[in-house]
Symmetry: C2
Subunit: 364 residues, 2 copies
DNA sequence: TTGAAAGCGCTACCAA
DNA sequence: TTGGTAGCGCTTTCAA
């Protein structure tokens, strides 16, 4: 129970000490021009009186109009659209909405990403939210921009040791781990399982694979992990790989789709009449996947909570910009395990299946 | 891309229209004392110029020191302690922390709850956060306090049709539904399953039971739901019921513990040598449960995210108090499905197993 | 080293 | 129906 009949201000402190409010302000903020003696006196009485700065007044006076640039790909829209929405929501709720937001977009990871980030940097925002794509290519740029004084906040993935101030993402290793455990529960006897992995971010996919493999080894030694199929950036490629995989005689009975192109793989399964016979754990959530879960065609999907990622990334960046530090710089969200039973809870967050790859080879 | 070189104020609008800022303010807020004509003119130019109120200035001027009372039980601490922590965290992050918080506690649901709420009401807070216990007993009081003008925010459960402004809880029906689906996945053949339900809140437990039963019927017709064991408020009672249940010849192979006394049931299972042989889905998360999950003794637990519940309840109450309305009054969170694989993600949120029932009959 | 005072954008009150 | 103005708590500049 904290009883403060009325909040006390620097004026109260000034009066109690018979000094001016200017001096109190200087002492409180450790600015130069105060004698050590008065400074400690002020600090002590402030403590005693339970002084807390009035943030409204502070904000009003300083009236710093924070500008934030957001650099994210268009594709995959069912992931990045809600992520952007989360950023917008957080910005709307933030004090004053005095914060200006600008969104920069590029087609997809690996195509125009570096350029977009450089362009954004040129606009000299107070802070930057961005997706670190291919770490190898991004790292030098992140380091450069960070050193130039612009706080960088990673979202969707992380880029450690680059000077970025923090990151928000779904826990990739544990995503893989969950997928393995779910498959293990559904496949009680000896069987093969496989992982199909892909774009988004190299780092995250490596992590997911690690988690998947490690958990299989520990919790489900009866399941054998087949050679990983990786690097299909395009649906058609994913489709072909899936067909080949599922036609071989030791075909897997469980599949972990950590890729964005899960629909292409699903189509391959359907064509072979294996949909519903093979246990599938997918990633992310969109309309077509929801339908498949509802009809028991796939077991589960691991929802990476893009909306929350955007929201938290924004909040943390603003916290850093205003308060100057971050209590937990690296946030790794718990992915939601979406099954048939809890699917309705995510209905409001489901977006259309991503259409758009006009320039790539589409799936028929 | 929104470019606003500098944010515009009511002064700008006033100058543009050659009127005083007082008039602009009146028009903008629909206060009386403005002609319809000037009002529409102001509204239109405000729209055109893209006026957004400076919330800092507004807050500074109004300087309303919002007071919020929180009325929650001590027991069960592993649920209500993090819930309180969530409220505190949200209060700390809120603009100015100009909001005063007071916590009221009572031993447990049904013992001193009504009295505590009445006592809190007597302190005339601007808003109240509380757990609606037994709906039958609470409803009249909630209605009364609401009508007296104090906004009431339910947390942990809901109390519909009482005049409360909103609620935050885990989705009880879907919790039951998830439990059924998890058991169905692990028990592929004909078997009996049972639910042990208990205190917390009557409404929620009925909901969990509904979800469990309905999902069993639809998704797992091969599983038979045995008569529900309900109403054991005390560990010893839960323990006895569990012993009796598991000793009968058609004993269940799957158990859903929607009760707070899961540990007592677990002890019964252990005694009978059934721990690990019977599939168990529990509720909430605390140290002993975490240990059991880690060692594969129980399948999963449904984490009701008390911290988040507290945080959201506070944020929504404050939003209501300041902005006057709520976009989504009833929030039903998706419970986290905690398995062995994703347990580490929740480690930081795990509290000690609740000890405290000095006055009740303890378990040996 | 310290004091005095202006002013951030807004609300509310009093006067016209 | 309108205009004018004090002042919320803070930062900052200019004088002393």
């Amino acid at each position: 129970m904290n009883d403060e009949p009325k909040s006390i201000s620097i004026k109260d402190i000034a009066e109690a000490l018979n000094i001016s409010i200017g001096t109190v302000d200087r002492a409180l903020h450790g600015r130069r021009g105060v004698s050590e003696k008065t400074k400690t006196r002020v600090l002590k009485t402030a403590e005693q009186m339970g002084y807390k700065p009035n943030l409204a007044a502070q904000a009003l006076k300083l009236n710093r109009r924070i500008s934030i640039g957001v650099v994210l790909p268009k594709h995959i829209s069912y992931f990045f659209d809600p992520l952007r929405a989360g950023i917008r929501a957080a910005a709307g709720a933030a004090m004053g909405s005095q914060i200006s937001l600008e969104f920069h977009e590029y087609p997809r990871i690996g195509s125009g990403d570096i350029e977009a980030l450089e362009a954004a940097h040129a606009r000299k925002y107070d802070g930057l939210i961005f997706l670190p794509g291919d770490i190898q290519r991004f790292s030098p740029l992140i380091r450069k921009i960070s050193r130039s004084g612009t706080p960088m906040m990673c979202v969707g993935s992380d880029a450690p040791d680059t000077g970025r101030i923090g990151s928000v993402s779904a826990h990739a290793y544990i995503s893989g781990s969950i997928a393995a455990e779910l498959l293990a529960h559904k496949l009680p006897r000896k069987a093969n399982v496989a992982i199909l992995t892909g774009e988004l971010s190299t780092l995250d996919h490596a992590e997911k694979l690690s988690g998947f493999a490690a958990t299989l080894a520990i919790q489900a030694p009866h399941l054998t992990l087949m050679p990983t199929l990786e690097g299909h950036e395009k649906p058609k490629e994913a489709y072909r790989q899936a067909l080949t995989l599922m036609r071989q005689k030791d075909r897997p009975e469980g599949l972990y789709l950590s890729t964005a192109n899960s629909i292409a793989v699903i189509e391959a399964l359907e064509e072979l009449g294996l949909l519903g016979k093979v246990q599938v754990v997918a990633t992310d959530l969109f309309q077509d996947l929801a339908t498949l879960i509802k009809s028991n065609k796939i077991l589960a999907t691991l929802y990476q909570r893009p909306f929350t990622q955007g929201k938290v990334a924004f909040e943390n960046l603003v916290a850093y910009l205003t308060r100057g530090n971050l209590e937990s710089p690296v946030v790794q969200l718990a992915p939601h395990i979406v099954l048939r039973s809890n699917l309705p809870l995510f209905a409001s967050r489901i977006s259309e299946t991503d259409e758009g790859e006009p320039e790539s080879d589409s799936l028929e």
